[in-house]
């Protein structure tokens, strides 16, 4: 027997148990094996269960009659089907379901990592002690918790591979390779020397993580193809017995839009993350992806590509497994009966108190910290507890409690650190990764495909949030503040003579005491502008504002700068305009700065007119919301797609297209076309309009201040 201490890198299913990859303290990467049984449960009509029993008797499974808990139905008599072959559980289930479709199935699609964590309490990326007999794990015990604020960093070897250009636009000639401080390029001109070079690098470095650009959609398929063509064996896995796991590209509808996810290439024994095909990698990077993997129990390369919703579902599954609650394949709890009046009362979102249009000085923004998750935890809102008095802690609060605490702790640490501290970026990434999990947990109470959701619990959270916001407003008004705007979980308040952060502390303490939900001061604006609708200047638009904090930092929401389809050029100029305005300390000074902004705009237009703006700053990015053929009146993105389609490119709904506005038949020029647009053909008037609109947004709020007094 030998003892190993290290970090758990990867877990995956085999036909006779599971494989573990452990990064040992001495730097060795260990391939370990472990016996592992998997159980799924079947419930329903007794006669059918009997038939299913007979059907399964012939297979390599252990059958048992037992009672298990369904979250909503309570204890159920079920048939437990246990197999020592985790790799084929899906096939076993698919066969069974095809034969007996009307039975209820539980615990059939739980990722192997979650089962492993539930059974051993050892989490991914965590430190563990393993007792081995040869390569077989006898016991494994955790030495760390996923909720540690400062986990011991893993000494990962990271190899970065990136082509010099987007392969969808041009054929790359070089592959940039980076390892530690060393950077070099491999020529892609000839497959054989390239493969030999890359293979040597992989053997020499033996990376834990291959971080690529376009690895999923271009590099890995190319490597596999070249390997077959040249006969040079290249296994990118650390696990030699495995081949690269590939998944097809798909388009799906999520968060109100069609999203395209490119093909994927997953590795065994090491990770592969394609930075260009990882959902939120740009937002929180590797540290964030690792943090999410740590707390959700989903492998790093999976989590980097999946939505936070998949993470929160995994966390709920883990809580269910740990509490002996079965995870249903399909949620079947339906909404209770409501009268029209009840539905109108219940079916609301968060509270919005329309802003008072215009410029305001010395305004504090105070936010409830993770308001919805905090409500779920504090008020025990869970699908099975909603409407019950004194119910034991529900599955959802149980899942969220530690997550919420960890995020608040990270935020507190961050607020105490100097911004120049080297830990800030990492902590920010981790806090942001946790934030996204918390953001989606509310939606998953009402999401159709959530395993543990019920619309009433979703409604209960928003009802409670509206109540708390009203309480906060009353507290603020009782203390003499004017509430300028409220938006779901934040308030903008103002009082004559109050301008320092400490002036607002008594208010925050009073709100926190009244509501029981933590609240934080986002900052005190020197001035903040709430915008009016572009269609009707009398109508305010919620959550559309910009302002400058006392240290000059800008905050803006809902304006062109935040929109993904705004060109870089317009964004840059709008940001510069805001920076000019940020020098103003009062609304009156703001108005005095407007001529500077107008000059900035005229200069920018002149630059564009004489062709001094790089074309890549004028690129517009838009998403295809449907197939190109489905457009009756093609959007600019669809026109761009049609131009590229003529050159053999294929597009799926959800894919983004880049183009320039041009003076030609369709009005656009696809950015990825081989032939560059002649700058003389640029539709400058269209760009002027975009810029005018963006500048108008930032100067509109001070219009009343610019009017001659006699007109007022």
């Amino acid at each position: 027997m030998t003892e190993v201490i290290g970090w758990l890198l990867d877990v995956f299913a085999e036909e006779d148990g599971i494989t573990l990859w452990v990064l040992a303290e001495d730097g060795e990467r260990l391939h370990l094996r472990m016996d592992f049984n998997i159980t799924l449960y079947v419930a329903g009509d007794f006669f059918l269960l009997r038939q299913a029993w007979k059907y399964l008797r012939e297979k390599n499974v252990r059958l048992e009659r037992t009672a298990r808990r369904d979250l909503f139905l309570g204890e159920r008599d079920v048939m437990a089907v246990t197999t020592p072959d985790p790799a084929n559980i899906q096939k076993l289930f698919a066969d069974l379901q095809r034969q007996f479709p009307s039975l209820d199935y539980y615990d059939v699609d739980i990722p192997i990592t979650l089962r492993f964590i539930a059974q051993t309490n050892t989490h991914l990326l965590g430190r563990c002690r393993v007792i081995l007999n040869g390569e077989w794990v006898q016991t494994i015990e955790p030495l760390s918790s996923p909720w540690e604020i400062d986990p011991t960093p893993m000494p990962l070897r990271i190899l970065t591979l990136a082509p010099e250009c987007n392969p969808a636009v041009r054929k790359p000639k070089q592959l940039h390779v980076k390892y530690n401080q060393r950077e070099y390029s491999l020529s892609l001109e000839s497959p054989r020397p390239f493969l030999i070079g890359l293979k040597a690098d992989l053997q020499r470095i033996d990376p834990d993580l291959i971080l690529t650009d376009y690895g999923d959609t271009w590099l890995f398929p190319l490597l596999i193809q070249w390997s077959e063509e040249t006969g040079i064996e290249l296994n990118l896995n650390r696990d030699r017995e495995r081949t690269v796991l590939t998944r097809k590209a798909n388009s799906y509808f999520a968060y109100g839009q069609v999203t395209y996810r490119g093909a994927q290439a997953h590795l065994f024994g090491r990770w592969h993350i394609d930075r260009k095909n990882a959902m939120s990698f740009g937002e929180y990077g590797l540290e964030g992806a690792m943090e999410q993997a740590r707390v959700t129990g989903i492998g790093v390369q999976e989590m980097a590509r999946k939505s936070p919703g998949a993470g929160i579902t995994a966390m709920q599954m883990l809580t269910a497994l740990r509490n002996n609650i079965m995870v249903p394949l399909q949620k079947q709890q339906v909404e209770g009966r409501k009268t029209l009046a009840e539905l109108i009362r219940a079916d609301h979102g968060g509270l919005i108190y329309q802003p008072i249009i215009g410029l305001h000085g010395n305004v504090a923004q105070i936010d409830f910290s993770s308001m919805y998750p905090a409500i779920m935890v504090k008020h025990n809102i869970s699908p099975e507890t909603v409407g019950l008095e004194d119910a034991p802690e529900g599955l959802i609060p149980k899942t969220l409690r530690l997550l919420l605490e960890k995020r608040l702790m990270l935020k507190n640490i961050l607020s105490d650190l100097d911004p120049r501290d080297c830990r800030v970026e990492i902590l920010k990434a981790r806090a942001s990764a946790l934030k996204w999990l918390l953001v989606v947990c509310f939606g998953y109470l009402g999401y159709k495909n959530a395993r543990f959701g019920k619309i009433e619990s979703h409604e209960a959270v928003t009802a409670m949030s509206r109540e708390l916001m009203l309480q906060a407003k009353e507290v603020a008004e009782d203390m003499g503040f004017t509430v300028l705007h409220m938006y779901v979980d934040c308030l903008f308040v103002q009082q004559e003579g109050f301008h320092k952060p400490s002036d607002f502390t008594p208010l925050m303490n009073a709100i926190e005491e009244k509501t029981g939900i933590p609240i934080a001061l986002e900052g005190v604006f020197k001035w903040v502008a709430f915008l009016a609708s572009k269609r009707d200047a009398r109508v305010p638009v919620p959550n559309q504002y910009f302002g400058a904090f006392q240290d000059g930092t800008l905050k803006y929401r809902g304006i062109e700068l935040r929109r993904r389809d705004t060109t870089l050029w317009v964004r840059k100029i709008q940001l510069k305009a805001l920076e000019i305005l940020a020098r103003a300390n009062t609304p009156r000074e703001f108005a005095n700065r407007v001529p500077d902004v107008m000059n900035l705009m005229e200069d920018a237009k002149r630059e564009l007119r004489i062709g001094r703006v790089p074309l890549d700053e004028l690129v517009i990015r838009q998403r295809l919301s449907q197939t190109i053929e489905a457009y009756k009146t093609p959007s600019p993105a669809a026109h761009a797609a049609l131009q590229l389609q003529a050159h053999g490119r294929q597009f799926a709904p959800g894919q983004s297209l880049e183009f320039l506005f041009a003076r030609n038949g369709t009005g656009v020029h696809a950015w990825e076309l081989e032939e560059a647009l002649d700058s003389g053909k640029l539709d400058t008037k269209r760009y002027y309009k975009l810029l005018d609109r963006a500048i108008q947004t930032v100067i509109d709020p001070c219009k009343p201040l610019l009017m001659p007094e006699r007109l007022l």
């Binding site: 399909q330 949620k331 909404e335 009268t339 109108i344």
Partner: protein, 176 residues
């Protein structure tokens, strides 16, 4: 499209329209609500309570009495729709099922499952029809492969009312 006169216990009326008869179904619900208790089962998030309330307000000052006679439940998956229908008791009162097939068109649900669940749902609808009139609205499938579901439902209907999409006539281009 006047649905009210053709309603009768024992009769299943199917209304097919590109928008699942959004406006007509809300008017029908309001009209039925003025007369008695109505069960509304919503399979496509089509129920518009404010619109119904507006219709009611045009017809009566006692809006709350009518509003308290309209009972609704929503399903967000075809599994939920099946559960919803199974748990709806037969009463001598009209039942309006909005956009029944919406959740069955979901391409995450295998075709054989959609077929199996719809069969079960249709059985439950037959049960409801015996005790009260049932109106069912349908919208076209998102993909042609699921069109057979539409045919299955229509085959069981006593009357199918089809609302065609309005055809845009030629318009005079503006000169200036």
């Amino acid at each position: 499209m006047d649905i009210l006169p053709v309603l009768k216990t024992g009769k299943l009326i199917v209304v097919y329209a590109p928008d699942a008869a959004r406006t007509e179904s809300m008017t029908l619900i309001a009209e039925l609500g003025l007369r008695g208790v109505v069960t509304i089962l919503d399979g496509g998030n089509r129920y518009r309570p404010y619109q119904v309330a507006t219709f009611l307000r045009r017809k009566t000052v006692d809006i709350s009495s009518a509003a308290n006679r309209l009972f609704s439940r929503r399903a967000f998956t075809c599994y939920e729709m099946n559960t919803l229908l199974c748990s709806t008791s037969s009463r001598n009162q009209p039942c309006v099922i909005l956009d029944l097939l919406n959740t069955f068109y979901d391409d995450h649900v295998p075709t054989y499952e959609a077929h199996r669940l719809l069969k079960s749902c249709l059985g439950q609808i037959q049960r409801l029809v015996i005790s009260g009139p049932v109106v069912l609205t349908l919208a076209p499938p998102l993909a042609e492969e699921r069109a057979f579901l539409l045919e299955q439902v229509c085959a069981q209907a006593d009357e199918v009312m089809i609302k065609e999409a309005p055809v845009c006539g030629p318009t005079q281009p503006s000169l200036f």
